[in-house]
């Protein structure tokens, strides 16, 4: 037996990557374990029986003994705790931070009130995506969360381009935990009085179980939930306090990937990268009317052109008719067998109990319901373009 899907080494920025639980992969990560970085929760993961794999330069839990399927379903029905400390936390200080960062991202930051959050992306001059990120308006600063594999490049990019206008501070001394699922709010209400009533895509500060934190009501699963920034020295205390709650179980990167795929969310380095524009990636919703009109971010010319004329290809959801998963790299063909696109993420959706994929197709084939073929192991399998998310978002909008 051969585990075929080893993580592609060529990927510049795998956030979640091709998580492979095979023996080859485990052996590989063991041999390079001494060079991998560890999050403040590393020892806790090992103590909880996690299977550890290399991810984004870190030794991370891909799953705990419960397994990916059980962890995924637990997050959808109760609450899951994820260690996402490998991601980059950055603050941009000073009164010019908003105007400065708007020169690097197409998101509308000027419109943000204190405590509000935007999803956006760093674009390059060709309109490709260097990374995607969350941006919080904190009043006198902006708080950014960027992908693990991109964080050093992102920081260098900001220092080079806007470092004279805003002070770029990298919070290497903070951990990041995500609490996700329908029970997340009741758990937080018990431990963090200041979390009560917080709405989706907003930021608050406050103690959680007596530990000073700041937290956003956001996530990467499609569920209601929080991402919590905590001083590294208190991360284990916080994780233990959350895990002591009856609804909360630890969840690995494997379920994080299947949850975000069901939620139709992009994984950098797979579904988006420097070869894809935000418009092709179906992220036009993240660019406001003002920014579309004014431009003023890298690659604006291409993005404005694609907004006006439509992109040549689009990111879409794809549902195979059969049971075989169509994974990253699978060729998408039309009825005549001609190639019309490629799958960028694919696997099995435990909550919908069926294989699911997302990928890019020529725009003529992007309408939901369009019949396409997926070439899996040399055979063409019937499939349909499907709306995303595959599993409904359940955010708390108040």
């Amino acid at each position: 037996m051969c585990w075929r899907n080893r993580p592609p080494q060529r990927m510049r920025c795998p956030v979640l990557g091709r998580v492979c639980v095979g023996v080859h992969r485990v052996a590989q990560s063991e041999s390079s374990a001494q060079t991998l970085q560890k999050t403040p929760l590393h020892a806790l993961h090992v103590a909880l029986g996690a299977k550890m794999v290399e991810f984004g330069g870190y030794d991370m839990p891909v799953q705990y003994p419960a397994g990916i399927m059980a962890e995924h379903l637990h997050t959808r029905t109760q609450a899951g705790l994820f260690d996402v400390s490998h991601m980059g936390q950055v603050t941009l200080h000073g009164p010019d931070a908003v105007a400065a960062l708007e020169t690097l991202v197409p998101g509308d930051l000027a419109i943000l009130k204190e405590g509000a959050i935007r999803y956006s992306m760093f674009t390059d001059e060709a309109g490709g995506i260097l990374d995607d990120l969350m941006i919080t308006q904190r009043g006198t600063s902006l708080f950014l969360v960027v992908n693990a594999g991109c964080k050093l490049a992102d920081i260098a990019h900001m220092q080079a381009k806007i470092g004279s206008r805003t002070k770029v501070e990298y919070h290497e001394d903070r951990a990041l935990l995500a609490l996700q699922g329908p029970a997340a709010a009741s758990v937080m209400a018990r431990l963090a009085p200041n979390a009560v009533g917080q709405k989706f895509m907003t930021f608050r500060t406050g103690d959680i179980a007596g530990i000073p934190c700041f937290f956003t009501r956001s996530g990467y699963t499609g569920e209601d939930g929080y991402e919590i920034s905590v001083p590294a020295a208190r991360a284990v205390d916080l994780a233990n306090a959350l895990l002591a709650e009856a609804e909360v179980k630890p969840i690995g990167l494997g379920a994080r990937d299947s949850l975000r795929l069901e939620a139709g969310l992009c994984l950098y380095g797979h579904d988006i990268d420097t070869t894809t524009s935000p418009i092709e990636a179906d992220l036009a919703w993240s660019i406001s009317k003002r920014r579309r009109a004014e431009g003023g971010f890298p690659g604006a010319a291409r993005i404005q052109r694609e907004l006006a004329q439509g992109p040549a290809r689009r990111r879409v959801g794809i549902l195979p008719d059969g049971r075989a998963p169509a994974r990253e790299g699978t060729e998408i063909v039309d009825a005549g067998g001609a190639k019309i696109g490629t799958v960028t993420s694919g696997g099995f959706g435990p909550s919908i109990n069926a294989p699911i994929s997302m990928g890019y197709v020529a725009s003529a084939f992007a309408a939901p319901g369009t019949q396409v073929g997926l070439v899996v192991r040399g055979k063409t399998m019937p499939a349909r373009v499907a709306p995303m998310p595959f599993a409904p978002h359940r955010y708390f909008r108040g």
Binding site: M1, W3, R4, N5, I68, A324, P325, R377
Partner: protein, 126 residues
């Protein structure tokens, strides 16, 4: 007890009847692979060479090839796995069998690892 042998690819092969063998993956393999969600089985009558790709098993995250541990002709496939691929996890050496081969040469079977050798091999993987 029917005779059982193992490969370094974590497959088991068991004598069913004379030169007919059943093939599946080991408990260790299913544990490494995680929740199985799909199995692609060979067609009856397909001829496979020792070491040739004969089936595919997919978990939530990974697709893995299953190789023929001996040369032969496929004489049966476990259709129950189409509706219930989780049998590979719950009963890997029983109801979770993949396919049966009529072997070309039974000597190939004897060359494979026995239980003790396979257990030692797994232990050596740490």
């Amino acid at each position: 007890m029917p005779e059982l042998r193992f490969t370094k690819d974590h497959e088991w092969i068991r004598v069913e009847d004379g030169d007919v063998y059943a093939i599946g993956i080991t408990a260790f393999a299913q544990g490494q692979l995680g929740d199985v969600v799909f199995v692609e089985l060979p067609e009856i009558g397909k001829k496979v060479a020792k070491g040739g790709q004969a089936a595919v098993v997919e978990s939530v995250k990974a697709a893995s090839d299953i190789y023929a541990p001996v040369s032969g002709t496929v004489v049966a496939a476990n259709d129950a796995l189409a509706g219930e691929p989780g049998l590979v996890n719950s009963d890997p050496t029983g109801a979770g069998w993949f396919f049966k081969l009529k072997a070309t040469e039974t000597a190939e079977f004897q060359d494979l690892m026995d239980q003790a050798a396979y257990d030692a091999f797994v232990a050596s993987l740490g």
